[in-house]
């Protein structure tokens, strides 16, 4: 297992995702002899996990069963330990496409945060790219490095514990893309420019507030960035279900009293129809942040 390459079978040291049911999962590090407690009972790593195929059904001690999943950056995003607010898959997807990331891309990122985006970047730029990620907070940067090692992607990433607004990314002229998720992105724009390749590249800044976007766009324009473009994407999840709609009874019709077509709901005498539909949730994420993209032209 690695976050950048699939394996067929579960091995000692792997991180697996235990799927417990609808929207209920947990990440587990596989260690022989270890046990994991779930609501369905105990999972014994040696007998239940190691050597099993990813995607298998595992029966727990209480008789309930779970699925063991191969980790992906997307499953990690919904299962990772939160050290900060994190980026979610909808934004990550657009960041990845709009930054034109692909195998071999060199990317600078700040801050590392909880590593949600970092994992998705690493997945995309492997096996030949590199991620330079800068985190101001020492504890967080250490934790991130540990995770990258556990997830077997540490050869693709350099974690730096410094202030990107003051010290930059620690690299010059190497990046195809820069991503900023910091409170004052405008302060990091000159550093971002310096980190980017001579021939140019792409930049993205994520900010929750419009005032941050305004100052960032100004800084980007001041520093010669082009194609400056701010967008926002909202995902709506639909719940697929069957709904029952009553049919009105206007009383007997002039001609014949035919009610043959209608289906009676048992015990009510009311005719109704069933309709398959998809309904949005009552409440959804109404805002995560604005994504501002720009192109650094050739120097």
């Amino acid at each position: 297992m690695s976050f950048v390459e699939y394996s067929e079978l579960i091995q000692e040291g792997d991180v697996v995702i235990i799927f417990l049911g609808h929207e209920s999962m947990m990440p587990v590090k596989v260690q022989s002899g270890a046990q994991t407690q779930t609501r369905y009972g105990v999972i014994r790593h040696s007998s239940d996990l190691i050597g099993q195929r990813f995607g298998s059904k595992v029966t727990c001690s209480k008789g309930g069963w779970v699925y063991v999943l191969h980790p992906t950056p997307e499953l990690w995003t919904v299962n990772l330990p939160h050290r900060t607010q994190i980026l979610y898959t909808t934004d990550i997807a657009n960041i990845t496409l709009m930054l034109e990331l692909k195998p071999g891309s060199v990317v600078c990122e700040s801050g590392t945060g909880s590593g949600s985006l970092s994992h998705a970047i690493l997945r995309t730029i492997a096996p030949t790219g590199h991620l330079h990620t800068v985190e101001f907070h020492a504890q967080r940067s250490e934790k991130a490095m540990e995770e990258f090692k556990e997830h077997k992607v540490s050869h693709l990433v350099t974690v730096r514990n410094q202030d990107v607004c003051k010290e930059g990314f620690g690299v010059t002229g190497v990046a195809d893309a820069v991503f900023l998720d910091i409170p004052s992105p405008w302060e990091a724009v000159p550093h971002a420019k310096r980190a980017m390749k001579h021939k140019g590249g792409r930049l993205c800044s994520f900010s929750p507030c419009i005032e941050q976007v305004q100052r960032t766009c100004e800084a980007l324009s001041d520093h010669g960035f082009e194609e400056i473009c701010t967008l926002e994407v909202l995902l709506r999840v639909h719940d697929v279900r069957s709904v029952t709609l009553s049919l009105p009874d206007f009383g007997p019709e002039e001609g014949s009293t035919d009610s043959t077509q209608k289906e009676e709901v048992p015990n009510t005498g009311i005719a109704s129809v069933v309709c398959k539909t998809a309904t949005p949730p009552r409440e959804m994420a109404g805002h995560t942040g604005y994504l501002t993209f720009a192109t650094k032209p050739r120097d």
Binding site: F136, I182, L245, E253, K276, H287
Partner: protein, 476 residues
């Protein structure tokens, strides 16, 4: 030029019997002011009595024993601009991973309060400054908000009911009762339906009476509303909550859905005894006054038949009493029946002309047959609007209307509603939004003609109806 009208504060004071809306933050509750009535709102209980005589808009706090006390509020006035320096999340990076996820200190919150921020805004601040809020599940977010609200918002404002307040209240508290009709969608319905004074509007709804009430508010007691209702009787709790003056109620008529075909066929017997069991089956699953009334009648008829022969004086007395009671009941029944007959007659008369000025449908029924059935009562060149929580039934409606003609300007729409936080350097859409507000189908009726003839056809149709009316009336 400019005239200053002195408000009559009398009508602005809370009295017993008034319907009011309690407000805390963006949570609302509708109640009627009654003597020693215990109200539970946001997990706190209190009595309304101290509010009587106070002005609408007053803010109360709850004191010992569930009494209300008028709160002396320092009205906001200081600018929000003071904390300009506070960049959103500027100090994000300084937070240690020590479990303290809230960036606002107790002092910060006090400062916010001094700046005149209301509890609601403070809670928003707390949310914005929580590093973990965004990462919580939606459920956990709701819990967090509720918890914080309870802590920072202990005041209750007493407001006069309005469509705005009641539609937001139902949407927030009991969306299931109003078929998840969102307030902005209701707003579209009232406007697209051209609801206004001095018109004749047909309403079919199973939204607890909220849609009915909002239509009546827009009509201001002028014109007529005909509520066509399914089951045993109309549902009106939501409408009652508006606390309309009695004159408004005189403009409201109701007509049972199950008599629509009879009315159209001209076979509606207005004298008929209400023995049709259909009307006793509440299809709304809700007990309302009219059903209870009909329950009383039934009791009379199911009384065991008596065949006594003994002439025990006590028995005789009892018998006399029973006879009296029976007569009384029969009398009551007659009066009630007469009332019902009158109501049915007036509603029928309003519908029979097939010249309603608008049709508003919002129900858990399949909108297609409902619309097809009721559209017949609408005059040409009038708007109609149909709400449905789901998309598919309205697609069916749209298709059917296109096939059968007689309507134009058909539009199937839904809308996207976003609320914003506007604060210096922290402006953004709210992190939570409503997932959907339901779907609307709206359009305009036109004369339905089979041939190329001009407007003779609708005229002829009209004539036929006028002719059928007397025959119907004569049977009463």
């Amino acid at each position: 030029m400019a005239e200053c009208v002195e408000d009559s504060d009398a009508e602005s004071r809370i009295s017993y019997g008034d319907y009011i809306v309690l407000k805390r933050g963006d949570v609302f509750k509708s109640v009627q002011v009654e003597n020693k009535k215990k109200v539970i709102f946001e997990k706190q209980w209190f009595f309304l009595d101290n509010a009587v005589g106070q002005l609408y808009g007053t803010i109360f706090e709850i004191v010992a024993g569930g009494s209300l006390r008028v709160k002396m509020v320092k009205r906001a006035g200081s600018s929000l601009n003071n904390d300009d320096s506070k960049e959103a999340g500027q100090d994000n990076r300084h937070i240690m991973d020590d479990g303290r996820s809230q960036k606002l200190t107790r002092d910060d919150i006090e400062t916010l309060k001094e700046q005149g921020l209301m509890g609601q805004e403070i809670v928003q601040q707390l949310i914005d400054n929580s590093t973990t809020f965004k990462d919580k599940t939606e459920f956990a977010q709701q819990k967090y908000i509720k918890k914080k609200k309870k802590k920072y918002e202990s005041d209750i404002t007493f407001l006069k009911p309005s469509t705005r307040l009641l539609s937001m209240m139902y949407h927030g508290r009991e969306p299931g009762k109003i078929c998840h009709l969102r307030y902005d969608t209701l707003a579209q319905m009232l406007t697209l339906g051209n609801i206004h004074a001095s018109s004749k509007i047909i309403v079919f709804e199973t939204c607890a009476g909220l849609v009915l009430g909002s239509v009546m508010e827009r009509m201001g007691g002028y014109g007529s509303v005909i509520q066509v209702y399914p089951g045993g009787g109309p549902t009106r709790a939501g409408m009652e909550s508006f606390g309309f003056p009695s004159s408004f109620h005189e403009t409201l008529h109701d007509f049972p859905m199950c008599k629509v075909n009879a009315l159209l066929a001209g076979t509606l017997d207005l004298s008929e005894k209400d023995t049709d069991s259909r009307t006793d089956v509440s299809r709304d699953g809700q007990l309302d006054s009219s059903r209870e009334t009909s329950g009383v009648f039934q009791e009379g008829t199911t009384e065991p038949q008596r065949m006594e022969v003994s002439i025990d004086p006590e028995e005789e007395m009892k018998r006399a009493e029973r006879e009296k009671l029976r007569q009384q009941r029969a009398e009551e029944k007659k009066v009630k029946m007469e009332e019902r007959r009158k109501k049915l007659t007036s509603a029928s008369a309003l519908l029979q002309g097939q010249d309603a000025d608008g049709l508003v449908i919002a129900s858990r029924f399949h909108p297609c047959p409902v619309l097809m059935g009721l559209l017949k009562f609408v005059a040409p060149s009038r708007p109609f609007v149909v709400y449905c929580q789901y998309r598919e039934p309205l697609i069916e409606c749209y298709t059917k209307l296109r096939e059968q003609g007689g309507t134009i300007n058909l539009r199937l729409t839904d809308s996207w509603l976003r609320h914003y936080q506007v604060l210096p350097n922290r402006t953004h859409p709210l992190l939570l939004m409503s997932g959907g507000g339901g779907y609307l189908l709206s359009g305009t009726t036109v004369a339905k003609s089979v041939t190329q003839q001009k407007s003779e056809e609708p005229a002829a149709k009209r004539l036929k109806l006028d002719m059928s009316t007397p025959s119907c009336e004569s049977s009463t």
